[in-house]
Symmetry: D3
Subunit: 209 residues, 6 copies
């Protein structure tokens, strides 16, 4: 066997230089590109770069609504850079709602871990696909379609959505309309909602324009 080993050692030396890019941990200080952030030098990479602990604790949720989204996208978890995956944590109190939203850059797979969650999405053909999900059940939401999650029953709920991109994006409908600088006349013209309603919601959510 010893002779084989000699071979192996020489093989190692000839190839060691060629094999650096198994991964590309994000250097978040570098300018990102359409494919992601520049890579941290491999020599500086440690096990901790591939681990994220920020979803371990339930988010600080008010007694009244009991709902929060905590992301683990590449900006939080640099080890995801270039790997086409990310995750988040949903904490929902009883009746808690993640309002209608889209992920412009990724498909979503939701894993329910606690409670009962009514989840659904609306297709381009204006059909709602929805279901009450229990612990351990999965639901998939195709990229870019409006969807929601609601804790049903009297129990709180917990779920981990995962995404097919390291930067899936998140556009929350109510924020886009009423917490942005989208002018009231334009909201009215492009949604057919009455100006009075738009103004009222913008007043509360802090929208301008």
């Amino acid at each position: 066997m010893f002779l084989h080993i000699v071979f192996l050692l020489s093989l190692l030396s000839s190839t060691s230089h060629a094999t650096v890019q198994d991964f590309c941990v994000a250097d978040l200080k570098g300018a990102d590109t359409p494919s992601g952030y520049p890579c941290k030098p491999p020599a500086n990479v440690t096990s901790d770069d591939f681990v994220y602990t920020g979803l371990a604790e339930a988010a600080n949720v008010t007694n009244i609504i009991n709902a929060a989204v905590t992301p683990a996208f590449v900006a939080q978890f640099p080890g995801l850079n270039g790997l086409d995956l990310s995750a988040a944590r949903l904490d929902l109190g009883p009746g808690g709602v993640i309002p209608l939203h889209t992920h412009p850059g990724a498909n979503e797979l939701l894993i329910v871990l606690q409670g009962h969650i009514l989840a659904g999405f609306i297709s381009s053909g204006n059909i709602v696909y929805q279901k009450v999900l229990k612990k351990g059940e999965l639901m998939v939401f195709p990229q870019g379609l409006l969807h929601f999650q609601i804790a049903v029953g009297k129990r709180k709920a917990l779920a981990f959505p995962v995404f097919s991109s390291a930067f899936p994006g998140l556009q929350i409908l109510d924020f886009a309309l009423f917490a942005s600088n989208f002018s009231t006349p334009l909201v009215t013209q492009t949604t057919f909602l009455d100006p009075a309603i738009v103004k009222k919601l913008k007043g509360v959510l802090g929208g301008s324009g």
Copy 2:
């Protein structure tokens, strides 16, 4: 030169079999796949497969609103299959509005051909990027983000949006909410609109649930 030609002819015969798939015109009767439709046999492909005339005429628009969208996606224009491109035609009368919508599957590049169009999109960060576009001007809308187009001024307008996919999809916000089977209690819970407003709009647009 003659000798070279002999070479060329033999080269042709040896390679002719290898070079069929420059394109993949859709056989729309076949089952589609995640990458598109199966290919029509190359021997049956003609010039007409690569041409689409269905956007040449202005859409039949009512006197009152003067707005229409006519798609040239792969379902209408099979030559686009597998080519990551498609188009549509927007006809807008004075004040005509393409209401808030997204394309879940593609980026959009809008080419304005007539009139003045106020176009804009809302980012995940809830910032509205908008501009009045004139003839010959372009605007780009990243995938999956809410956007709109409005003919401003007293003139009608015409534009051709193009897309980075042969099946970009189209989700119109008002239809998703008020012309679908999305139940009124769920619309209310996930948008924070009052039930009375939701019911009224569903009544007009034909939504159920």
Copy 3:
């Protein structure tokens, strides 16, 4: 507002045909392609196609080893087709081990839900990145690299790995070597293990050759 609605209804009719492919639920009876399975006709798609309940229950685990992998790939969960996502469930008893394996077709993101799991992977540069993960912590494993998970401490453990493909594949090292038809002389020549060891393990695992 009524006039706007008329516009909307005409817009709907002109575009309804163009917007079928938000998703491509697998028709598993069709022949798959490099991009996945053919799509089930949209008219036959229901909410259940986007939901998977097969990971809800702990796998039937023996008292002795207490470890099992249950996949939710496209073959089990047809709604994942074309969406570049899939999942699995790991049930680990105290000391349970998922032995060294790779996913040739996907990156993996592991979500730990119960217990303490020592997880790690080996890079092309022959460096081991490993960490003990607790409830709610995540670790990412780049595509194609050898990795493992072990329940440490005296408690059982539960985790959901998710993948960046609907068919990530799974190559378990011991099965590849000792449960396959890989001949003993070839295993010996290509791994430098002694034939006696190879034969012993093949005997137990059922390998031939």
Copy 4:
């Protein structure tokens, strides 16, 4: 409703950091990568980054030939970076010709806006697919194949080609052969054109070698 709003505001704060990359406007001063240019910092992005006005005017065309190509690729229109789309403007006088050329990096969809254009491409199988296109008609040209556009009839013509990449490239056959440093003996050997012809065309077009 007020209580819901409180929830929304907390949701906003927890996710605002995660959602920066809806787009990646090119920083053209940065070094490009295989996926495009580095992104301009989102805080510096304005509506103007998503708009391009450089195709609005007809190119300055001579009375004799009346033909010009004006590109709107990522180098001109940084908002296209990473979005897999670009455009150009073709101005053709009566009889104007865009000579045989290829786009090595993109498929093309041509939108004819004025006049009659005879357009065609040659497949790998040496079949010419061609058609006279009128106002509002579209033709698609698969990536990398030789194609041309000619204004037919006595009228000038205008068209906007769009591309499936932000940097489609443009290789004009006559320039490649006769305006480059491609040596006359090599042109002759690899095209079977007589040296006298090659020299004459190189003399006019400025080729060397």
Copy 5:
């Protein structure tokens, strides 16, 4: 160790169904799609599907020109389906020429095995990059750009080009112009070659129109 083995066996049974698609050998009788051919059922796949012997022999070359291209694309070698690789064999006699051509669908990497080959390509910027390659040397040709290979010196030459697609395509300039149905007036208009030259070459190469 025995107990671990029991675990392994149960692991095997639970996952065996999930792991079929490591590969997708082409069923050439099925209709191809933009991503390739449908997959042969895995149970029918044998070692021979992954092997191709058709490039082992030198092509039958005339004494006069001594040049031939033999492809190993997916149509010849079904095991390449979906794997983004293919190859060919170039046999060149002394002075043999592979005339100017492009691969519309792939980058090329040329491996020279015998003789001296002058190879080059022309960029979009009309610069020729060329070099004389010797045995064991490599040259890369970016997708869609015109390139050529010539055996220089008095020796014959042999090379294997490989491609970044299973169907790279092959458009030979002289065939596109003079062996196709591209009409003489159009060739003249789009290349600025004199009609007499075009007719002469079409006469020899068999072009029509």
Copy 6:
């Protein structure tokens, strides 16, 4: 013809700026990204950037084992950057073995140039596909699967593997297990090899832990 030429010259000037990125030769001093290295400025690119001579010579092989792998990945051959291709050279003495390994980031196509090589891979389904390859024969190895090459018979062998990525990676099983910092207890637990064997191999190969 002269008038056409005038057109051509003006066309050239208007488009010259738009067509820089046919290629992206790696600037290896820049930080890499998930899509590869930043591009060397086109003005500095020469023919030599597209050529690699480092595989021309047989590797320095010991008399005893006669085997070596020499890579031509992007780190050695910067012209491959962004082109989804790379290569290597295998020199095998009589009986020489490339031990079990995977390429985590690419499919492989092996071209045998000399001698007889027994090559094979193991699928996720634990089936070995293997064959003795002769001069000029090809075999394909799907991404991420364990495979090997052995020179059979009494002759030395030579082969060029090519890959579907510019950085395919290389994980050699014995090095991952026995030349890394993978601790002996963990190797034992995750491979079911006896600690004595593990320690012995680590001793020879230099593994720690």
